[in-house]
Symmetry: C2
Subunit: 176 residues, 2 copies
Amino acid sequence: MAAEPPRDGADAIQDAWRRELPGVPVESIGVITRIWWAAKFFGDERRRLLADLGVDVATLDLLSTLRRSGPPYRMSPGELAEACMVTRGAITQRVERAARAGLVERTTAGSGYHARAVALTDAGNALLDRVVADLLVAEDRLVGHLSPERREQLAGLLRELLAGLGGPSLTGQVGD
Amino acid sequence: MAAEPPRDGADAIQDAWRRELPGVPVESIGVITRIWWAAKFFGDERRRLLADLGVDVATLDLLSTLRRSGPPYRMSPGELAEACMVTRGAITQRVERAARAGLVERTTAGSGYHARAVALTDAGNALLDRVVADLLVAEDRLVGHLSPERREQLAGLLRELLAGLGGPSLTGQVGD
DNA sequence: TAGGCTGAGTTTAGGCCTAAACTCAGAGAG
DNA sequence: CTCTCTGAGTTTAGGCCTAAACTCAGCCTA
């Protein structure tokens, strides 16, 4: 009686592995592969939108993280690496690119080699003001086909999933 | 009465944007950011596991896609690009690397420039036999903290989300 | 049958990432 | 006071990707 949900590509992949490698547990595909596809879809959309607006995803992630930290919009490379969930080396490179574009500045906010910090410039803040609202509006539209209740359910289950993984949701501060 | 779910990083990001840019719609973050984090977590885990097993994610994706297509385990570059959801150029490079490692071969399966095809070699099939089961077992463990009912709900909601996006779930054949 | 179109595949330039080696200031032991 | 250790940050080598330019066989037209 219950309406069968229409089968999709993930179901087909499960079937294919059952056929090719009988006995392997394929249940995780229903969750992990679909999450992977959704993330790729949202990532591609974001990359294209931001390219039109003249930024790249990595730079916007850096600037957004600084902005969300609140005044004085200043963080150390180590804090940025943790919040952005990339290596310290990646942060060095992101900061280098953003600094060359005038969006952040390295403020040796203490004395000497340690106690370095990265701070948003006025240009960086202006870029965020110009871009983030557009981005969030566009992404709101992308998930708009789900009813608010469905979105709520999905967000809740994902929160549970992440809590159980013990990874990103605990310390990460990345996002938009 | 209802137990409040513990707040996580995505909730904090929503709050931060409400504070920094009042008026922007932040609801999508609850879904999109959490999906992004989960995908990053699973991707990082997969990369590390496969590195230990001596493969990289992109090569395994290529080989898996060929394997799942069934005998004779042969596809054109264009079909592979669509199934793997990467550009044709990326497929050219993946095939080049895999061919150099002896895992696939280019069988000019027709006449001339067109009608090219890529086929799994015995070594490629052997590598899949050796690696895929381990991978699926490991990933099954990663989502094991969710009860089967929860996993089912999550998979169903993700299927709905993807169907509404009109993207990956319709044509993609990527996966493990 | 010459000219041009089309679409599949390849090449190239450039971006961003990770992992591992490297650098350097400050802290602690002797 | 000097040596070593430690940990934050940077640099380098290498991997994978996209976007756009390029190549080329087959086909269609005149």
